[in-house]
Amino acid sequence: MDTQQFHEMEAKCTRENLPRCAAACPIHVDARGIMAAVRKGDFSKGYALFARTAPFPGIISRVCDHPCQEACKRVEAGGGLAINALERACRDFNAKPLIKNNLIPNKDKKVAVVGAGISGLTVALNLSYKGYKLTVFDASREFGGRLLKIPEATLPRQIIADDFEILTKLGVQAKFGVTVGNTDGADVLFNDLLAEFDAVYLGLGQIKAADFALGLELDSDGCIRIDPVTLGTSNPKVFAGGSYRQDSSELSLINAVSDGKSAAVSIDRVLQGAGATLHTNRTNEGPQPTRLFTSMEGIEPLPVVSMVDPGEGYTREEATEEAERCLDCQCAECMKLCEYMQHYKAPPRTLAMWIFKNMSGVGGHKFNQLMNSCSMCRLCESVCQDDFSMADISREARETLVSIGKMPPSAFDFALQDLKYSNSDAFAMAKHEPGFSKSEIMFYPGCQLSGSAPGQVISVYSFLRKKIKDGVGLMLGCCGAQADWAGEKETFAETIQSIKAEWERMGKPKVILGCPTCVMIFKNNMPDISAEFLCSFIDRIGLPEIPPAESYTLALHDSCTTRYEREIQDSVRNILRQLGHNIEEFKTSRELTECCGFGGLMQISNKDLAHRVVDRRINESDKDYVTYCAMCRDNFTNRGKKTYHLLDLIFTDETGKIAARPPVGYSQRHENRARLKTTLLREIWGEAVQDRQAPVKLVISDKLSSLMEDSLIMVSDLQQVVDYAERTGNKLQNTVNGHFLASYKPAFVTYWVEYSAGEDGFVVHDAYSHRIVINATDHGITPEQPGQCPVFSSLT
């Protein structure tokens, strides 16, 4: 993932787009922020926010043409917010001084403003703040231009005077009663202005400029040609804007203010010697489109709050009530649903940026766990109007880290070992049905269903063989999802290749997949293989004969890996109805379903977060759950929620009795897979399979088992330790309690067991592990940075 790719991905999140009000406002007044302040009754804060953007807040709060109000999302539910009236309320009830004492720098450059209307005065104000020496020329006797024609009742003269006081304070010079031009009648020659001043702004109002003979390039209408972005003219020292470039039928005060602000930016750049960059970074000026999504779910229509006395404007109470109607537009659709985002307390783009930083290694890799904790469930993508996907960003980053050898070994090693095991001889195989040399279909139960419910795999296989007459092959193995999630591109590609090779060897049969994750992997990576989800297939060919003896109301949890697979979801519901069960739907079901915590290997890389994800889901209904993914079933069951796999409901015992299976841990899953293969080979293919050498027998308490599960330590790991210690005599002994202590490092992890000999085998008292290597130099660790560990080295 390069920077550009990353930016394309993160830009899909429009959360930081402006709300509609601010986007429609040419100067982007933070109306949303002002509304929030008014809601709290804090008019002074509202005023401060307003004045931060609006140069003459008193005037603008009275006579703005408020494009914000038509753009307001509330238009859809009762009418746009009365934003301008609320701005006036902020001005009316503001309790802080109107003018702040700003530190003004001192610059020796001089700027002339021709025309004392609102655009020219905005230029004068903004450039004065920057320290330039401003002189305003106008034919009239006071500041204000067109504003002076507005009736006193609408725009009191005191408000104008208050707003313009700052100009005097900043030392803006006024030359009133003078006309400017290059004609005989002009009081001041425009060419003299050009000679005397470093820049000139023309805010000429609604007049034709041709009469002034300014010597500037004109357009076909005889108006000064003005660059719409920079407001520059044919003379690099001269800028122009305001109502001069507005249609007389659509005069806009706020657009004139916006012109003044833009012209000030341009003049400042020119005077700082940055004239070459006049067009750079100007896209945020003026009204602009916004793609910010605002949910209208549950929003009741409310009319605009009316004023007791419209002439006086809103009272405080009325203003607060009106501000209450503000929808506070911000998109948090994914954050509302995603436990991962809530856990890291950051909006999606921030998370994306942290992940990108982590991937790039800028400032180290301190966001490793964050990068490896997304469940890649695509709920964010599903709920987002623009398909922002944390999954895509996470995968790209993980793949990059793996490719540069910087993926932390502890992150996904356990899952990759599990994948390796499932595709080893211990479990993997592909065979035609006994008596057939080809397969019409091939059942691929997947590693998790086989590990969780080997009995159901056998039932399904028997059922399929009864229903399908032309041969039902069987293939055991893992689809490689764990490598895909871990960012292990090479391992994943190899896995896909070997599945394809086996499928070809089996004569390219249609594949019936037992696991929704396999469905996702097959669909996305092996499109040439015709595949169907087991439950959909059963729905089509008909259920087994035995009707269930009981009927339940069950909350149906959809699998996140098939969130977009409507047909699968429908067939599952159809089966449940046929079986006579009532379905309770979650609010977040189908394409909005939640992950069970296994997705993206969250469970391996961030156990605590995965537990939170599961716990949230299992508390969403007090009904028993049903799901069609073995991992979801196991994760819910392991956290104490009674959950059926759909197959448990289909394949009952002979009497139709349904049994909820107990929790299944990692060790049990391995054991189940190996036993499934042996059982199938013996019972279906009649092969004489030799028993594996009986492993060392261990006695492990439930408490320790649970601790081992959390620490990703399997019984087979401990068996290897004890076997090694007993075989070689390489063990320690505690002289206080007589327990032996031994360690063994089969691959990357060193496992320790504290044990003693008991009647039924070795009693395990404790088990722990570490990745740090003992006698590192003997184990091929090159001391790149000897003694650099600040923790351990402190002791030597």
Binding site: N734, L741, H770, R771, N775, T777, I781, F792, S794, T796
Partner: protein, 73 residues
């Protein structure tokens, strides 16, 4: 970054003997290493056969933190 105290490093090592050599463990130099970094430490070990003792508290405590810190460097 936490500091590992002597107690966590050595644990109950004074009670431990090497079952193979039948002698008590003594504190000696050991080189630990992880993801390209090695660091010398003092741990209980059998001075005869070299078997090293990692107490459970160390494995579950500072070792985890050090592993994480080195991975996230």
């Amino acid at each position: 970054m936490p500091r590992v105290d002597q107690e966590e490093m050595l644990g109950n090592g004074k009670d431990i003997i090497c079952a193979k050599c039948d002698i008590p463990l003594k504190v000696g130099h050991v080189t630990l290493g992880y993801v390209g970094t090695t660091f010398p430490v003092d741990l209980f070990k059998c001075l005869e056969c070299g078997l090293v003792y990692i107490p459970s508290g160390l494995a579950r405590g500072s070792m985890v933190e050090v592993e994480r810190a080195l991975e996230d460097k």
